[in-house]
Amino acid sequence: MGNTDFASSLKKLGPASAKEFASKNAIMLVLAGLVILIGIVQPSFLSIDNLLNILRISSVRAIIAMGVGGILITRGTDLSAGRTVGLAACIAASLTQRPDYVSKMFPDLPLLPFILPVLAAVSAGLVVGLFNGLVVAFLNVPPFITTLGTMVIVYGAASLYVDRPPRGAQPIGGLREDFTNLGTGSVGLPDVFSIPNLIILAAIVTVIIWVMLNKTRLGKNIYAIGGNPEAAAVSGVNVKKNLILVYVIGGFMYGLAGVLLAARSGGATNNYGQMYELDAIAACVIGGVSTSGGIGTVAGMLTGVLIFEVLNNGLVILGVSAYWQQIAKGLIIIAAVAVDIRKYLAKR
């Protein structure tokens, strides 16, 4: 390597490469820009407590987004995500009410070992995911329609579950502290340095999903199916099996998210999780997941979720009126994708 080569590579590091960096990481820059902008206007936004708070909220949302994200990559979609979160939250909450709480949903429920309610709720998510996967894979019903159906079914099921004798429909409250601690507690030394449980759990899930998408055959198959399902089938990918798996994993994630949502808020109603699927899909799309399949990264999904939650929190802190919050969010979704899509346009 001679000096001239070195000089030319130095040149490459100039404006052109900065431009390339910007276009490749546009979405991260949007996030950073938002954080800085809101922080300048309202410094309390950048307080540790508030940032941790945003991360806590994002943790649940990120788990849902990664569940939907995998499905989006296979050219699918999952509209039942939000309602499944709600169903799981209701199941988890109903089985973890304090024994001395007067209005228990199951008056004679014994103190269950912590893990049972969690398993029950997550299993409900798995069942919904399995159903979606089977219908999409074997009945060839388009995912949009399949999950539109299950969205309504799951909401009905959650309402039926909550509206039971002897007390009928009511918000489920009075949750055990060992359960809510899952969503509100932290690991570490109090007042010195501690990380909220939710963030740790979300980090673990993120690592697992990253490995799954990037290092396993399943992950490669998911991208292959999304890129071109016929070609994937021809090259020996069992499309049906992989599709079912990706919906089941999605269901698992919604179930887990529902458990954590109930734990964080200390209760649940059958209305929990409403429209979360749209937030999750929007977050994925903002994060560069292509709705036409085959493209998407875990980092992108997380960035999308963070942009959403930074906005949700930031606009409240800025004191923006509720109506303008909606308009601002909508505009930023469109703007973020418009900026991000330039990297694909440039390639053509």
Binding site: R56, G168, I172, T269, I317
Partner: protein, 344 residues
């Protein structure tokens, strides 16, 4: 030919059965709820359903927050010969269509919980309304704050004699939300206290949203917030969770927060017991449900004189109602002193 005869036979049977139905006119009540996932309305619905048991046939429909859907449900009730309707409107301002339908069939109708426009109510002599005065819930919520504030000097954290508050609003297009927001503050001011609004925002009656908005405010204002008013208990409970996460304690502890809600749901009563909630206002779902049922039952069975055991038709709030078409079910303040009697 055979097929044609078959079809004719089927039609004949159908007509015959319709005819029978029409002739018998068995009393039955058609109920439509604006949406099933509204917690409060599910209590009202439970009460209506349990009251009807073994007494009369009823059909309860979910209008899914969709007025056109509810209009269809009303049509269906009418064609099926229901003898009275109990309708929880989705859009109380769009009542004229519904009234037109029932008036044409001379079927009596009881609106409940969501109050229709008065002008439209006056058009039909068999239209009734059962509900609570929404303003009253706001007034009582404000009074809860006043009572606590006056008895607890420590509540004024910065000792400036002014109540610094944040407001969690339900659905801003909903009149209940507007009244509670407006009248709670009016009641505080009427008691001679000064208020300063730090922030207000919609949390759509939702616990998780209430928690998220409050957490953001706590990050911004910290100890400046002295009182959190929520349009309902679910949002108040969300606010409590956010306060707990920010290290705030129960009332009487080192860092308490004054939080009030409306609805007196079981989880809210639990929070009252634990000292995290100062008070809540009971919109008496059971009495609303019972009054609605009593009225609809009397109308369906053709009782000459219509009255409710829960509240006299004339009035409950003390104001004369010459037309005798409104039943006002009063709200109840719930605090640490009396919450036990509301536990079920």
């Amino acid at each position: 030919m055979k097929r044609l005869i078959g079809v004719l036979v089927i039609f004949a049977v159908l007509f015959a059965s319709f005819g029978c139905q029409a002739a018998a006119k068995k009393p039955k009540i058609g109920v439509a709820i604006y949406k099933f996932d509204d917690t409060f309305m599910s209590y009202v619905r439970n009460k209506i359903e349990t009251s009807a048991k073994d007494k009369i046939e009823i059909s309860v429909q979910d209008s899914q927050y969709d007025q056109p859907k509810q209009n269809d449900q009303v049509d269906q009730f009418l064609t099926q010969g229901y003898t009275s309707l109990a309708i929880n409107l989705v859009d109380p301002s769009a009542v004229s269509v519904v009234i037109g339908k029932v008036q044409a069939k001379k079927t009596p109708i009881v609106f409940f919980n969501r109050e229709p426009v008065a002008v439209d109510m006056a058009k039909y002599d068999k239209a009734y309304y059962v509900g609570a005065k929404a303003q009253e819930s706001g007034t009582m919520e404000g009074e809860l704050v006043v009572d606590y504030w006056k008895n607890t000097p420590a509540a004024d954290k910065n000792k400036d004699g002014i109540i610094q508050y944040v407001m969690l609003i339900g659905d801003p297009s909903n009149t209940d939300a507007q009244y509670r927001t407006e009248y709670s503050i009016k009641a505080i001011e009427a008691a001679g206290l000064k208020v300063e609004k730090l922030a207000e925002d919609t949390a759509m009656w939702d616990r998780v949203k209430g928690q998220e908005k409050t957490a953001a405010w706590l990050a911004k204002f910290g100890d400046k917030i002295e009182v959190i008013l929520a349009n309902n208990d679910d949002m108040a409970l969300g606010a409590i969770e956010a306060c707990k996460a920010a290290g705030l304690t129960a009332l009487g502890g080192k860092k308490p927060m004054v939080i009030v809600g409306v609805d007196a749901t079981p989880p809210a009563l639990d929070a009252l017991e634990q000292g995290f909630l100062v008070g809540t206002v009971l919109n008496d779902a059971e009495r609303q449900g019972l009054a609605t049922f009593d009225l609809a039952f009397a109308l369906a069975t053709g009782a000459k004189e219509v009255k409710s055991d829960v509240a006299p038709l004339a009035n409950a709030a003390g104001k004369a109602d010459p037309a005798g078409k409104y039943i006002w079910v009063p709200y109840v303040k719930v605090t640490k002193e009396n919450y036990k009697s509301f536990k079920k």
